[in-house]
């Protein structure tokens, strides 16, 4: 299951998963006992000739109720302690770890901007709707938003944290097995809240370093004539008003496209990254994702083909 609480792939989600199992055992037992007690009571009461109301008859039941309340209290205190202990352990409350990898995630209506900061400015880079992390590495996600409240939730790795205007919230994740984990916005944020997904790819450190150094390079220069023409088309269309391609365009409104062709999906997880889908998205994004900020674009068909050739070269 790629988006499931019950299939943990990170240390925080595993701790929470253990707590979950403990709670399920305790609470299911409680439910079964109480319902059985009630059913036995119903069965007995069906057969009672007359109600028992005298004080002598009621006293043993007072003791029963008292004991039941006592057991309830003790059980709840136990659950409380387990909960607080787990909460501290998963770093839900944001302590600082010195060797953490820090990644900045900014929410937009309706896509995720991901930035990998670096002390050397030209080594930091941006991508969109995906996060790569190395295995067994504490990762600190610093969460901000450009507009309304969103919420980042990667169920396989940890609980969710809201992205709130004016605040930078922190979420710790640490993957302990490789995989592709899907995340979805978990705070209602408007028309396309349903289509605001992000993928987290956890991989061995060598692969992660490879990916990272590649992302740090500027965009590939177009090689074939179609690709060159495609870049001209890109620069002449409204694209440059919103998108950045390192080396060619620098707007920050929409997702960074420098290494667009390396991404598995488009439109925040709504479309697979294929030529056909990309073409459809460019020509009429609002038909696919009504309400999106990406406008429709009127474009001649051969221009479109060349543009797609250029974009596909952005590995």
């Amino acid at each position: 299951m790629i988006q499931s609480v019950l299939h943990p792939a990170g240390i925080q989600a595993s701790r929470i998963g253990s707590l979950w199992n403990g709670y399920m055992v305790v609470l299911t037992t409680v439910y079964v006992i109480v319902i059985l007690w009630m059913l036995v009571a119903v069965w007995r009461a069906h057969k009672n000739a007359a109600p028992q109301i005298s004080d002598a008859e009621e006293r043993p039941h007072s003791i029963t109720v008292g004991v039941a309340v006592g057991i309830t209290t003790v059980t709840l205190i136990g659950l409380l302690i387990a909960s607080v202990a787990t909460g501290s352990a998963v770093g839900t409350y944001g302590d600082k770890k010195p060797d953490a990898l820090e990644i900045d995630v900014t929410g937009h209506q309706w896509w995720w901007e991901v930035q990998y900061p670096d002390p050397e400015p030209d080594k930091s880079f941006k991508t969109a709707n995906e996060i790569h992390i190395p295995l067994h590495q504490p990762v600190l996600l610093r969460l901000a938003t450009r507009d309304v409240i969103h919420s980042l939730w990667i169920p396989n790795l940890n609980g969710k944290r809201d992205l709130i205007p004016g605040r930078v919230n922190k979420l710790w994740i640490e993957a302990d097995r490789p995989g592709v984990f899907r995340s979805q916005c978990a705070e209602f944020c408007g028309l396309q809240h349903a289509h605001m997904a992000l993928v987290v790819i956890a991989e061995p450190n060598e692969k992660y370093q490879q990916w990272k150094s590649h992302q740090q390079t500027p965009a590939n220069d177009p090689v074939t004539p179609e690709q060159r023409h495609g870049r001209d088309v890109f620069l002449s269309l409204p694209c440059v008003n919103c998108h950045a391609i390192t080396g060619d365009a620098y707007a920050t409104i929409g997702p960074d496209l420098t290494h667009l062709a390396t991404r598995p999906t488009l439109a925040a997880g709504e479309l697979l990254n294929t030529k056909g889908n990309l073409g459809g998205w460019i020509v009429n994004a609002p038909a696919i994702k009504p309400g999106t900020a990406m406008p429709p674009n009127q474009i001649a068909s051969n221009d479109l083909q060349d543009l797609l050739a250029y974009l596909e070269s952005l590995r």
Partner: protein, 155 residues
Amino acid sequence: MECRVSRLLLLSALLSALSALGCHRETRNLTASAAEAQRTVRPASLKNPYEGNAWAISQGQQLFEQYNCSGCHAHGGGAIGPPLMDDEWIYGSSPANIYESISEGRPNGMPSWGGHIPDYQIWQLVTYVRSMSNLEPQNVTPARAEEMQAKKAEE
């Protein structure tokens, strides 16, 4: 019984009429038609389709930030470019005038956006710019944006 039935029919007729009237203030086109998505310097009609439409003003506000109109006009108070929230209009305040200002550009630095962004976005910007100086109906214009204010509420 008869009275109740006819009252019910009257109520449903009223509701359907109201619904059909809809409310121009509240309509929102989430998908643009082919005509609206055109990028022309001079469109066929200079009539603002979004006059009095709240959604268009909200979109226009977003576009104003995204296309960096604030870079010259600040948030209406004016910087390098003239202020947009006052009553002085160098080239006129009608929707057609403002459309032309945005689409064709103006002397002393106003760029031409016509042909570069879809026509419907220019109309959304027009409606927003008009709302900044209270030329749009008051109950369509949002009272403020989620940012530092350019002018006090009383102004």
